[in-house]
Structure formats: structure tokens, C-alpha cells
Amino acid sequence: MSRAVRFVPLLVLLLFVGFVTWRLLVPNDEKIRSRLTGQPVPAFTLAPATGGIAGLSSKDLASGRPRLLNVFASWCVPCIAEAPLLDELKRSGVHIDAIAVRDRPEDVAAFLANHGNPFERIGSDPESRVQLSLGSSGVPESFIVDGKGIIRYQHMGPIEPGDLPAIRREWEAAK
């Protein structure tokens, strides 16, 4: 057996140890970002989700000013936890629109009555079509869309107090 070949297995081991040590030192970032970040919002038009609040279309999102788009549902428990933080964002001047996924008008109305209504428009997405076209697979999820209707930021899962600085930063950046 030639001299060099004898050391090949050892070399493979060292390569393996090198790669996994790197991974142990740099923990995996499990976030999966939508490929649509940096892309325009796909075109859609949604009927109002409940009485008294306008529906939502993609044109409403390209309004010249940034907007926060919240994907939620009345049946979603984390959305309740998130509601007070959306109110807080609204008070600090963030314009928020929403898409209610697989919901019924009376349920949406009850949700808004119980947990506050920070939304300017709410579109109803009964079969999750628009949600899926946004690259979102769960509720709640939030997007920051800039004045030209381009998605700048995606936040998956409920917004928690610790997330507010990042969201405000992205909001300022989208202006």
C-alpha cells in the first residue's frame, strides 16, 4: 500500500471533525426566510373579512408609505398573545393591514372586539391562497412592505416584546 493512501482515512476524519466543529461553534440559524423578501407583493384582491372594515388588495400596500402586513386568524392562539404588541406598534405610528386566514366574519368581529383592532384594512383569505403566495405557511406572520409594494422583511410566528426593536428598525429602513 503506497505511503500517501494510508493517510487518506485519517484525512477524511480530520475534514469531518473540522466541519462539525465549525457547526458546534456556529450554531445553526434555523430561520427560513421567504424567497419573496425583496420582491413585490403578489397581486391579489381580498374581500372584507368582517363588516365595517375595508378589504385588502395588493394595490393598497403600494401606497407610497411603508405598511406592516399581519397574517392572522381568530382561531389562532398565538395571535391573541401578539395583539397587544400590534396595538403598541400602531400607537408608535406603524400602519398595519391584515389578512385573516380561513376565518368567518363573526369570529373576526369577536376577535377584534376582545383583543383590540390595530388594523386599517382586513382582507379575508378563506382558502389560504394569498397567504401561501406570500410564502407564509403559518399564523401569525408579519411582513413589512415598503411604499412601492416591495416586501422588505418577514417575521414568522408571533411578535414578542424582544422583536419590537428589530421591527422598528426594519420599518425605518423601509421608509
Binding site: M1, R6, F7, L13, V17, F19, V20, T21, R23
Partner: protein
């Protein structure tokens, strides 16, 4: 008290492992090297570890919630089988099981091994003790299974419902016996390299261990595959998940080793290669354990993820594998290769088998680690899934199957006689099956088609070595080979049939609807609540019929309160020619239920084949042991 006793037994066992290592390094002088001394220490170490494991089982059976591990993984309201199996359904318990198998394997080696000279056996037992010592340290420092919890909670957190299945009781212990059984082959190879004794005696000592470990791995993988198939409710039998690959890699190495160790034992050839495979096989077990336990790769097997533990195992495996491979690199130059052979010979066929298995092993290894490599080099996140593995590994596996048609018919050393007549039965059946597949199923893919042809050809080819011999005098090992190869043929037929002929329907159905899948008409009757010992469920009633006769299938969507989890329990109807597989999903607002139905012709052959392979291995092992005992008795009588 039980917990403390278990912990004390574990510490004592660790101390004995340290003593055994020191003795084999020469600390006790010649007396310390004497095999009687080492044997006593090794057996003591094995027994103490078994006591520790028994203590853990007892704690789980008694639901002693003052022990952290029990509180986190068990619940007093659980059926006793799951309390029992729950002892290894968690990180610490399963590592204790691993260490117990390691220590017991060392004890059995010390007790029974007679083929090796004393010094080589002593070196091998030293290597085994070094392995055990590291894993004892890992348990005692980073994963103490006996840690107390104060104050004790009123009840435990429960076991992951996916694991609340009889499969858990058997699947991990079987796999562990296999993984860790390979440690003995590793230790014997290290002992042989240290003592510069790399010859047939080493191979004969190693062979029963390799066979036994390989049987266990085969059974464990087969059982795991079936368990995933019915428990996960995804309708597939192999997902190329990192943890599945972690069990497949040692199996591939052990399969190669199993074949090359025979060449070394019988013909004195393939010395360096056999030693390498013996080191690689257990290395793959350790790498697999590391990948599983560190959580470095994303997997459906969400084990306790802890970077400290990961680093610990990584340090151990670097030390052990690195040390062994360095020893190999330094010593292997001195090893003289044994008898020469022609390329067209049994040895030639076995070398080709080894190369193909090693390439497949390399492919699985690279594919499993590729997401990690890609992210380290380019920062890109990606996943490697079935498309890669299926398209790269399957063709090689088919070439291997084609080789299996040929190689067992070849003679040792050189084969000058015309070969074609011997290959005719397998070849003709394969060609006939190929032609038949074009006529009967013109639309299927190339790989399944080749799989059907080769699988069919292998049926006669694998039993052919039995022909032309006196069956009564044929060694059991040859029967074992024929049966194991037959098992491969059967498994290939099952896999090819599953990928060629499976029919799948995903529908939203209302009670009263009828769905057609393959030859079946499935009537969705109703959904009713159901309850078990520690779960409640929604259960669908499906009436499936084809031609005459009706089968009732009851897939469930189960809810477990402890811990709160929902699982899908698939309902499977097995008939001689396949399985009808039904999964109940969610209900939508319009009152329609998601129903997933598969008709999988001959899918059961996959696991039947796996069991035949293991049975063949068991026959071969029995044959080897019986024959050796007889030979030893003859030698003793000759000297008497």
C-alpha cells in the same frame, strides 16, 4: 437508594475499565497481563454496568419521580411496557444502554475468545476498555441518568407519544447491539495492528462478532423502517433522514466487512482492507451516535440536543478513530498481502462487492454531511433529500445486485472453466422478467424496472450455490449465504414494486363518499370518537372492497394529554399481494375530512426480505460456531 446504587455501580465499572486499560498497557507487569486477571476485570466491569442498567429500569417501572430522568420522560399512568421501554427512550438512558452493551461485549470477548493468542487478546481487551472508559466518562460527567430532582414532582412529563409503541421496546436495543457489537471487531483490529498479527486468526476471531452485530443491525434497520412506515403515517419506508443514514452507514461497512473477513479467514487475502473496514464500521457507529446526539443535522428524530454533549462525543470519536487510523497508517506497511488471486474469481467478486459497498457508503456519508459542508463553504442553506440518494445510490445498488447474480457462482482463486453456463439460470430469469415488465407494465421507470428484473434473476441465482452439492453435508454457512442473498432478492422486488406500482390518493371526503385507489373501492362511513389507556382519538371507519369481501380500516387522529400531542395512527390492511394504507387528516370548515390512501403492491416484501437476510446471517453464525466447537474438540482429542 436504587438510584445511588446504580450510580455507584457505574463509577465502579468505570474504575474497572481504567484498571483494565492500565493492565493491558503493562501497569501490572506480566501477572497483570495474564489473561485470567484481565478476564476477571472485564467480567466485573460488564456485570456492574448491567446492574446500573437494571437499577434504571427499576426506577422507571416504579415511576420514581424523584429521579430527574424518570420525571422528564415517564408518567405514572403509562402502560408498563412503555415505562420499561421509556428507560431508553431518552438520551441518558439510551447512552447507558449503549455503554452496557459495550461493557458486556468486552466481558463476553474476555470469557469466550480462544482463537487469539493471549497477548493479542490482551491488546484487544485493552482497546475495548479504552472505548468503554470514554463512554463511562461521558455518562458520568455529561449525562448522568441517576440525577435526583428535589422536590420530587407529583407526576412525570410523559413519553413522546410517537415513542409509545411496542416498536420502541425492540428497535433501539437491537440497533445498539449492532452498533456496539461492531466495537469488538474494532478492538480486535486494533489489537491485531498493535501486535502486528494481521492474519486469518484475527479474521476468525472477528467473524462471529461481525456476523452477530450485522444481524442485529439488519433486524434493527428493518424494524425501524417498518416502524417509521406505520407510525409516522407518511406512507414511505425510507426517508434518507440523517438518523436513518446513521444506521445505514455502519450496516454498509459491516456488510462489506462481513464479506472481506471471509476472504481473510479462508484465504489469507485482503488483510489491509479488512482491517480498514473493521475500523470504519465501528467508526461509523460512533459518527452516527455523534450526529444523532449532537443535533448537528436536522432530523425527524428530534433527540435531546445539547452542544456540550455533542462536543464530548466529538472529542471521544476524534481520539478513538484518529488513534486507530494513525495506528493503521503506521502498521499497515508491514503487512504482507496473502494469497494472490485472479480478477475473475470469488475473491475478485468479493473485492468488487467491497468497492461498491464502500462507494455507496461514501455517497451516503457525503450526502448526509453535504448541507453542513455547503453552509461552511458558501453560507448557503440547503437540504439533500431522496432525489440525490435515490438517483445516485440506487444505480450502484443495482450494479451490486447484478454482481450478486455472478460472484457466488465463481470459484476461489481462479476460475478457468466456462462461466456462462453457471450464470444462465439467473440471467435467463432476469431477462424474462425484463421482457415481461415491458409487456405488462410499459409505463414504469427505468430503475424500478431493472430492480424487478434483477430481483427476479437473483431468486434462482441466490440458491444456485446449493445445487450440485450434498445438501446434508453443505455447511450451514453456505445455507446462510443462500438465504441472505435470497432475502436481498425479495427486498429488491418489494422496493421496486413499491416504487413502480404504488397508487396514492389524497382527497377531502365527507362521510358517505367513496374513493377509488388502485383495485380498491374505499367507502368513508363515519368518524367516531375512541379512547385508549392514555389517549383519546377521532376514528374513521373505512370499508374497503375489491371484488368480493370487505375489510374495515380504522385510521385515527390521536390526542395524547401527557405531553399534549396529536399523532396520526395509520390503518393498514395487509393482504398477500400488498397493503392498503389509510391516514385520517384534519377536518375543514365544510365538514370534509382529509383522507390519504395508498395501495402498495408487494411492499411487505421489503421487510420480509430484511428478515430473511438476518435469518441467513443467523444460520451462518450458528454454522461457524458449531464448526469451530467441533474443530476445537477434535484438536483436544488429538492431543489427549
Amino acid at each position: 437508594m436504587i438510584a445511588e446504587a446504580g450510580l455507584a455501580a457505574l463509577w465502579l465499572a468505570a474504575a474497572l475499565a481504567a484498571l483494565q486499560l492500565a493492565l493491558s498497557l503493562g501497569a501490572g507487569g506480566e501477572q497483570g497481563r495474564a489473561i485470567a486477571t484481565v478476564r476477571a476485570v472485564a467480567i466485573g466491569q460488564g456485570l456492574l454496568t448491567a446492574i446500573a442498567f437494571a437499577a434504571l429500569i427499576l426506577l422507571f417501572l416504579r415511576s420514581d419521580m424523584s429521579v430527574l430522568l424518570v420525571a422528564e420522560n415517564s408518567h405514572s399512568q403509562k402502560p408498563w411496557l412503555y415505562k420499561f421501554a421509556g428507560a431508553w427512550g431518552n438520551h441518558e438512558g439510551s447512552m447507558l444502554l449503549w455503554v452496557m452493551v459495550l461493557a458486556l461485549a468486552g466481558a463476553v470477548l474476555a470469557l469466550l475468545e480462544r482463537r487469539l493468542d493471549e497477548r493479542t487478546l490482551g491488546a484487544s481487551l485493552g482497546a475495548q476498555a479504552a472505548l468503554a472508559l470514554g463512554f463511562f466518562a461521558f455518562l458520568l460527567i455529561a449525562s448522568n441518568p441517576f440525577e435526583r430532582l428535589s422536590p420530587a414532582p407529583i407526576d412525570g412529563r410523559g413519553l413522546n407519544p410517537l415513542l409509545q409503541d411496542p416498536g420502541l421496546a425492540f428497535h433501539p436495543p437491537t440497533l445498539y447491539l449492532g452498533y456496539v457489537g461492531l466495537s469488538v471487531a474494532f478492538s480486535i483490529a486494533v489489537g491485531g495492528l498493535i501486535r502486528r498479527q494481521v492474519g486469518p486468526a484475527i479474521a476468525r476471531a472477528m467473524r462471529p462478532w461481525v456476523l452477530a452485530a450485522w444481524i442485529m443491525l439488519t433486524l434493527g434497520i428493518t424494524a425501524g423502517s417498518y416502524w417509521a412506515y406505520y407510525e409516522l403515517g407518511w406512507g414511505g419506508w425510507w426517508f434518507w433522514d440523517p438518523v436513518e443514514n446513521a444506521s445505514l452507514m455502519p450496516w454498509l461497512a459491516a456488510t462489506a466487512l462481513l464479506h472481506s473477513v471471509n476472504v481473510l479467514a479462508a484465504r489469507g487475502g485482503l488483510r489491509a482492507w479488512t482491517m480498514m473496514l473493521a475500523l470504519v464500521a465501528f467508526s461509523m457507529s460512533m459518527v452516527g451516535t455523534f450526529l444523532v446526539r449532537s443535533g448537528i443535522l436536522t432530523s425527524v428524530h428530534a433527540f435531546a440536543v445539547d452542544p456540550t454533549r455533542g462536543s464530548f462525543i466529538l472529542a471521544l470519536l476524534t481520539l478513538y478513530i484518529g488513534g486507530a487510523l494513525t495506528l493503521f497508517a503506521l502498521r499497515i506497511v508491514d503487512v504482507k498481502e496473502g494469497a494472490q488471486f485472479d480478477p475473475v474469481s470469488r475473491e475478485g467478486g468479493l473485492v468488487a462487492n467491497n468497492l461498491l459497498l464502500s462507494v455507496i457508503l461514501g455517497i451516503v456519508f457525503v450526502g448526509t454531511l453535504y448541507p453542513l459542508i455547503a453552509e461552511a463553504l458558501s453560507g448557503e442553506k440547503l437540504s439533500v433529500g431522496p432525489p440525490y440518494f435515490n438517483s445516485v445510490a440506487s444505480p450502484l445498488a443495482l450494479i451490486l445486485a447484478a454482481l450478486m447474480l455472478i460472484a457466488p457462482q465463481l470459484r476461489w482463486r481462479r476460475d478457468a472453466a466456462p462461466i456462462l453456463p453457471r450464470l444462465a439460470p439467473g440471467m435467463l430469469v432476469a431477462i424474462a422478467a425484463l421482457v415481461a415488465s415491458f409487456i405488462l407494465a410499459p409505463g414504469i421507470g427505468l430503475l424500478p424496472r431493472l430492480g424487478l428484473a434483477l430481483g427476479a434473476g437473483l431468486l434462482p441465482a441466490s440458491v444456485q450455490p446449493l445445487f450440485g452439492r450434498s445438501l446434508r453435508r453443505t455447511p450451514l454457512a453456505v445455507w446462510g449465504m443462500a438465504l441472505a442473498h435470497l432475502g436481498v432478492a425479495v427486498a429488491i422486488l418489494g422496493m421496486a414494486s413499491d416504487s413502480a406500482f404504488t397508487r396514492e390518493r389524497l382527497v377531502a371526503a365527507r362521510p358517505g363518499d367513496t374513493v377509488a385507489v388502485g383495485p380498491w373501492l374505499v367507502e368513508f362511513r363515519q368518524v367516531m370518537p375512541a379512547a385508549g389507556a392514555n389517549w383519546t382519538a377521532l376514528e374513521a371507519e373505512l370499508r374497503a372492497s375489491r371484488g368480493s369481501g370487505v375489510t374495515v380500516l380504522k385510521p385515527q387522529s390521536r390526542f395524547f394529554p401527557e405531553p399534549p400531542t396529536t399523532t396520526n395512527e395509520a390503518a393498514i390492511d395487509t393482504s398477500w399481494n400488498g397493503q392498503l394504507y389509510a391516514v385520517l387528516g384534519e377536518r375543514d370548515e365544510q365538514g370534509r375530512w382529509q383522507l390519504r390512501l395508498w395501495w402498495k403492491p408487494f411492499v411487505t416484501l421489503i421487510w420480509l426480505g430484511g428478515m430473511l437476510i438476518a435469518l441467513g446471517g443467523a444460520l451462518a453464525l450458528l454454522g461457524r460456531l458449531v464448526r469451530e466447537r467441533r474443530q476445537r474438540r477434535n484438536v483436544e482429542e488429538a492431543f489427549a
